[in-house]
């Protein structure tokens, strides 16, 4: 890790000397490279490094090279607070790419607001962050569930059982599932919330069997909870499963033995197996730089495209990295990029991103097929609920049960 960032720094320095000594654009990177979350987040750093190398090779952002300042936040919220302060006040980064868990984002957001920084959150999450200092490229529930749940209900039936991690992300996602199931005339036959860190699911498996659903929505977070899949299969549970978070983030289909995850359907904006020419080329370039990468997940691709989006923003703002100029560029609605997943655009009202949503099906041998693709799903919820960052900046996170209060 240190070696790679050293190489990036050195190549940055070499290219910067050849670019007539323009001051570099500093991108701070705060990601968990050790601790509980490292499994899903190590490739976020790699995605950023890949993008930075490619952009620097082509001349940098508005002629200035990218310099990465990388900190390991050790899956610890207090480290996010410490290093966000450090990267903004001491290192004077122009922009920061930070955070995996929603808790870490909410920990550093007050500091970003206080120090007037600009931060990209490149992770899927429960939605609702309405803060002018934040740009969110991660997928949100309206993008993942409004596509997944109706499709599953049409294919398998209307009785749904949800098991979700028992915290904000799991509870809000479960709320989205509940609402969509009701809207489509279905029935929630059960809902179970599992505390984080739990790894034993015998009772849950029994409850699911008792409820007899047509399919199970699994919103499990963390490596301990993903043990569910192994135990469910061993316990004889063979129902189809639907998820917005597993496989796409934690590549369970590579880690568990087939056919544990067979018949699992996941909506994700990117996974390695996507076979469009852009995606294949992206994977080739990635593996050329990082041959030992276990898997390229959706967060890795989000982080990669986020660097290019930032480049778009700065160049549309005539080379300025000041936040008011960047926000003006975003407000035109024209910040887009042809990402490995497809074309993505930043929505000015919420500063979230549209996505191409792929429905990935895990087959019996754990290979992936794509029964359906939804191009250009916009992050419509915040805008429809009344939030508009071009007009006001509430610096807060809304939820479906705590929406923005509509102006009279």
């Amino acid at each position: 890790m240190t070696r790679l960032s050293l190489i990036t720094a050195l190549s940055g320095i070499l290219i910067s000397t050849s670019l007539a000594a323009d001051p570099p654009i500093k991108i701070g990177v705060l990601e968990d490279q050790s601790g509980d979350f490292a499994l899903a987040t190590i490739c976020k750093v790699h995605g950023i490094q890949l993008a930075a190398d490619e952009i620097n090779a082509k001349g940098g952002i508005a002629g200035r090279p990218i310099q990465l300042i990388i900190y390991d936040t050790q899956s610890d919220n207090t480290r996010y607070q410490e290093f966000m302060r450090r990267v903004l006040q001491k290192d004077k980064a122009d922009v920061v790419f930070a955070g995996f868990s929603s808790a870490s984002r909410e920990a550093y957001r007050p500091i970003v607001d206080q120090l007037h920084g600009l931060c990209f959150y490149n992770n899927q999450y429960e939605g609702g962050v309405c803060d002018a200092n934040m740009i969110v490229t991660g997928a949100v529930p309206e993008q993942q569930f409004s596509t997944l749940i109706p499709w599953m209900m049409e294919k398998y039936g209307k009785k749904v059982y949800t098991i979700a991690a028992n915290y904000n992300f799991g509870q809000i996602s479960a709320e989205w599932v509940r609402n969509i199931v009701k809207q489509n005339g279905g029935e929630m036959v059960g809902e179970e919330f599992i505390p984080l860190g739990v790894s034993q699911f015998s009772q849950t498996i029994k409850n699911i069997q008792a409820a007899k659903p047509d399919f199970v929505v699994t919103l499990l977070v963390g490596t301990a909870q993903s043990s569910y899949y192994e135990q469910a299969r061993a316990g004889g549970l063979e129902l189809p499963m639907a998820s917005s978070v597993n496989v796409g983030q934690g590549y369970e289909h590579k880690r568990f033995k087939p056919p544990t995850l067979a018949n699992m359907y996941v909506t994700t904006n990117y996974i390695e197996e996507i076979d469009t020419p852009e995606s294949k080329d992206f994977v080739k370039r990635w593996r050329a730089k990082f041959p030992n990468e276990p898997y390229i997940n959706q967060e890795g691709e989000n982080s990669y495209l986020a660097v290019y989006l930032y480049k778009e923003m700065v160049e549309k703002a005539n080379g300025s990295t000041k936040i008011p100029d960047i926000r003006k560029a975003i407000a035109t609605g024209g910040i887009s990029f042809d990402a490995p997943e497809g074309k993505v655009t930043i929505d000015p009202k919420s500063q979230h991103m549209s996505h191409t949503i792929y429905l990935a099906k895990v087959n019996d041998d754990h290979s992936i097929s794509f029964p359906k693709i939804w191009p250009d799903i916009k992050p419509y919820w915040l805008g429809e609920a009344g939030a508009d960052l071009t007009k006001s900046n509430p610096h807060t996170q809304y939820t479906p049960s705590d929406p923005p209060k509509k102006a009279e």
Binding site: L39, E192, I194, Q209, Q231, K257
Partner: protein
């Protein structure tokens, strides 16, 4: 038939929860109960057993042998750790917290660096069977059986073998034992190694059912500690009935109100038991006897 299957289902859940507690705490009970060492690296020993088993399976060994191999490897690591660090900390239980915390950091981060953030799982063998309207996993029954065999085997080892007698003597009256010619240094090392091997066994047994990541031990550690402390100093009079009682509590509350309630009930039970029986279950049982 319905009542029978309901009873079976209920017993299965209790057995599953109690087996988890027994297996999680057995190694810690030996190390803490017998030696007074608070081993914060217990979770890492479990992880080593799991990783060792998974690697052995990948190398082609059948699962039972792989589990034995993982357990043995962890035991050896335990002996090494005892020689290097633990032997200087006897009689200083609170210092063992700091030392073993340091060891746990080194182990889990070292595994992350050397083996990456995850390891492919071995897959649960044996499939499922049905009773009444539900299907169950054969392997979970094996885990329950393993917990019972473990307790019986440990009892035989401690009470009926030469090593067991030497270990008990050394731990209860080290100077006397040494005066009688027992190599206490070796006994300590082997006992700690036994505790580590038991933790490794737990890791190996659970490896086919779980995600394999360097931090996988953390899901066992809290339950292990509370079971050992509620049980008190004696492994058999304490840890086993503690695991049983706490397992029943957890199973009942989990089936009634879900996993969170089960966890909270477990912690509340721990607080209550310690309040009522300040020397733990075994302390109370021993007092009752005398």
């Amino acid at each position: 038939m319905d009542i029978a299957s309901a009873i079976f289902g209920f017993l299965y859940q209790i057995g599953d929860a109690a087996a988890f507690l027994v297996l999680a705490s057995a190694g810690l009970a030996v190390v803490f109960g017998m030696m007074g060492v608070i081993n914060m690296a217990h979770g890492e020993f479990i992880m080593f057993g799991a990783y060792g088993t998974a690697m052995a399976v990948r190398a082609g060994l059948p699962l039972p042998l792989a589990i034995a191999a993982g357990s043995l490897a962890t035991g050896v690591i335990g002996v090494i750790i005892e020689r290097l660090v633990i032997c200087r900390l006897y009689g200083r239980p609170l210092d063992t917290i700091v030392a073993t915390w340091g060891i746990s950091l080194i182990f889990s981060q070292g595994t992350l660096i050397l083996l990456g953030s995850s390891f492919p799982s071995a897959g649960t063998p044996l499939g499922s069977f049905t009773v009444g309207a539900y299907s169950y996993s054969w392997y979970r029954l094996i885990l329950m059986l393993a917990a019972i065999v473990l307790l019986v085997g440990l009892w035989l080892l401690v009470n009926r073998t030469r090593f067991g007698i030497l270990a008990r003597a050394t731990i209860q009256m080290p100077q006397m034992a040494e005066a009688l010619g027992v190599k206490t240094r070796v006994v300590y090392s082997l006992t700690f190694g036994l505790g580590a091997a038991l933790a490794g066994l737990t890791g190996g047994l659970y490896a086919p059912t779980m995600t394999m990541v360097p931090t996988m031990g953390s899901t066992f550690i809290l339950e292990a500690f509370v079971t050992v402390v509620v049980g008190g100093a004696d492994v058999f009079l304490g840890t086993a009935p503690a695991a049983g009682a706490l397992g029943i509590t957890k199973a009942i509350f989990t089936s009634w109100q879900g996993q969170l309630t089960g966890q909270i009930a477990l912690l509340v039970a721990v607080i209550l038991v310690i309040r009522l029986l300040p020397r733990g279950l075994s302390g109370w049982i021993l007092k009752e006897r005398s």
